[in-house]
């Protein structure tokens, strides 16, 4: 990819603004609440955009484009039955407890609702996971910038790490949130022209549909397998994802999506920074509106890329192949940028990609420094210190959190398998979480012992399920089957969805059983933490579009319509 002075100056200007925002915010960081929770003072539209941007790291953008090429429009299930219903649920039902309890983090809510050990389990596993996740994405982006722009791996990793460090160190969560909003607009403005030009090139949606028929039939599927999202979900053998509707709806739509969007502190932290209960509840709902349309921005380019690839010779665009001969889907979005953008616009597109990487990493870092400082340091290492001390610790946590991420990125260059294994373990830990929150918030009888034992057995169930099944064509090892192969799944995705379903169900059942056998807490202690004992938050907003329930209804109707349109 050949860049000119125009592209470089656009990137440079972006870096200047990012650091400038951090510097401008420095003087507002007076207390630990300012640093970790933005003083709970951010308006809903900003926290809402940050809510989706924190999740929209470069890996997500690249990954969604890759899946668009690999699976077609069915990738939109990650949005239209995945994220959107979960975001409506957390906004309407769960946010009153997160925000209303004044918990400063998700683990702290678990401490208030259950007990110390449940918080400890969640805080420590979350802290380890976020630091390594940010290391893994650092590694991925180092590789990407290397192959795309010829940048040195060390250079890419260090520049990114130092810039994220600078702006989080200076401006804390506010800095991260502001840069996430900036990145949101960069992604929209950087990718929209790509989609527009791409669609003009292939003859609009109907032109794309007819070109994707070739892709589908050459892979042995029915004609619409790449351009219809539900029509081929009847059986796992008729669609490229290798999943059937039940595994999709339960595994992805319910367990994984609700687990991520409703309990992951990375996103919930954005809502906790909102300036009122109403703003906190609206945060995920406002986020859901652009989120609904993101498939057009990130999945469509991948679909166009695969359509062009199958018409070799006429289009001049071909996805590169990997060493083993399969297509390198991860290159779909970067290659499309290079294919359609002239110098200038290319600078904007690449800046959007770099921005999405950096704000994804900053999201991890701010979630880490908060959980470390409040849930680990303040709870187990040094209680009762002054607020200034914890503010200082937050800044230190930012420094060593990033240092560990950099170390993890280098570790990944040598032992790629270790990173795969870590991600697998994270998946086991995350899978059952939503069962714990659901029971904790909506069943007052749930006890701390129940939650703790439930979480552990859910994680264990995930490991056992993964260890005794194998996706088709995979070798025993990291892909599963280390206990023997009881069941063969048609694809890795199907295996993941079912692992999640098993983990969730186990956690749900075990939590109920253990709770019934152990002593419940006094009802008085649970006010504000459990649905049946808490006064419903009233929609006091005077205008209809500020009311959470109405927004949620609109968002769900929108997702339903999109599902039907692309059925």
């Amino acid at each position: 990819m050949k860049l000119t002075i125009v592209d470089w100056s656009i990137m440079l200007i972006y870096f200047v603004f990012v650091l400038g925002i951090g510097l401008a915010l420095k003087r507002y960081m007076k207390t630990s609440t300012d640093f970790f929770l933005s003083g709970r003072s951010i308006p809903a539209w900003i926290t809402g955009l940050a809510f989706i941007s924190a999740n929209l790291g470069a890996q997500e953008v690249i990954g969604m484009g890759a899946s668009g090429a690999k699976y077609g429009i069915a990738t939109s299930h990650f949005y239209w039955i995945g994220a959107i219903p979960a975001m409506a649920f957390i906004g309407v039902f769960m946010m009153p407890f997160y925000y209303g309890s004044r918990a400063r983090s998700v683990p702290e809510y678990l401490k208030l609702r259950f007990d110390e050990k449940t918080r400890g389990l969640n805080a420590i596993s979350f802290a380890v996971m976020t630091v390594f996740s940010s290391g893994i994405s650092l590694y991925a982006v180092g590789l990407l910038l290397g192959s795309l722009l010829g940048w040195d791996f060390n250079f890419s990793v260090l520049v990114a790490a130092v810039i994220v460090l600078a702006y989080v160190f200076l401006g804390g969560l506010t800095s991260a949130i502001y840069n996430e909003v900036l990145q949101f607009f960069l992604i929209v403005f950087g990718f929209a022209p790509l989609v527009i030009i791409g669609l003009i090139d292939v003859g609009g949606w109907s032109g794309l549909q007819s070109r994707l028929v070739t892709v589908a039939t050459s892979n042995g599927f029915g004609a619409g397998a790449w351009s219809e999202s539900w029509a081929y979900m009847g059986s796992s053998s008729s669609n490229p994802m290798g999943v059937e509707w039940f595994g999709l709806a339960m595994g992805l739509g319910f367990v994984l999506s609700f687990g991520y969007w409703c309990t992951d502190f990375l996103v919930v932290q954005r809502a906790m920074a909102a300036d009122s209960m109403s703003a906190a509840r609206r945060t995920p709902l406002i986020a859901a509106i652009p989120k609904m349309f993101f498939p057009f921005l990130v999945i469509l380019p991948g679909m166009i890329a695969i359509a062009l690839t199958y018409q070799t010779g006429q289009s001049g665009f071909v996805l590169p192949a990997k060493a083993d001969g399969s297509l390198n889907y991860d290159m779909a979005i970067p290659m499309m940028l290079g294919h359609y953008f002239p110098t200038g616009m290319l600078g904007v597109g690449l800046t959007a990609l770099i921005a999405s990487f950096m704000s994804g990493m900053a999201g991890n870092v701010t979630a880490f420094n908060t959980v470390w400082t409040y849930d680990i340091y303040q709870s187990y290492i040094k209680k009762g210190a002054s607020d200034q001390h914890y503010l200082w610790m937050g800044r230190m946590a930012t420094v060593f959190g990033i240092a560990i991420s950099v170390a993890a990125a280098y570790l990944a260059t040598r032992f790629n398998n270790i990173m795969d294994m870590l991600q697998l373990v994270f998946a086991f830990v995350n899978a059952p979480l939503f069962a714990t929150f659901l029971l904790g918030m909506f069943w007052k009888r749930t006890t701390g012992h129940g939650a703790f034992v439930g979480l552990l057995s859910g994680t264990l169930a995930a490991a056992i399920h993964h260890g005794s099944t194998l996706p088709k064509g995979a070798l025993v090892g990291i892909k599963g089957g280390w206990f023997g192969t009881l069941h063969m799944y048609p694809s890795e995705m199907a295996q993941n969805f079912w692992t999640a379903i098993f983990a969730w169900t186990t956690c749900f059942v075990v939590t109920i059983v253990v709770s019934l056998l152990t002593k419940p807490r006094e009802e008085g202690e649970l006010v504000g933490l459990v649905y049946s004992l808490t006064e419903r938050p009233k929609d006091t907003e005077s205008v209809w579009y500020r009311r959470p329930t109405i927004l949620a209804a609109i968002v769900l109707a929108g997702a339903l319509i999109l599902n039907i349109l692309f059925w």
Binding site: V6, S9, I10, I13, Y14, F17, G20, I21, A24, L25, Y28, S38, G39, S41, I42, I46, T174, Y178, V181, L182, F185, F189, P193, I197, I200, D201, H339, Y340, F341, P342, T343, G344, M345, V348
Partner: protein, 68 residues
């Protein structure tokens, strides 16, 4: 928070938009072969410039007027 996020976002988009528009006067039409012959730098630069100015305006209106 004392800093209205719309101001820096608006400024960044206005500057980047202006760079795109300016670049379109100097680049040969050859570079637009990639974008199907559309002068995307000019058109999208104008869109970004307009968006940037609107954001700056909105930020300034709420904050009193840091522009003066």
């Amino acid at each position: 928070m004392g800093l209205d996020i719309r101001t820096p976002i608006g400024l960044l988009f206005a500057v980047v938009g202006a760079i795109l528009v300016l670049s379109s006067f100097f680049l040969s039409s050859e570079v637009y072969r990639a974008s199907l012959g559309i002068n995307i730098n000019l058109w999208w630069g104008l869109v970004m410039l307009a968006f940037g100015l609107i954001m700056v305006f909105l930020g300034a209106r709420r904050n009193g007027s840091p522009l003066e």
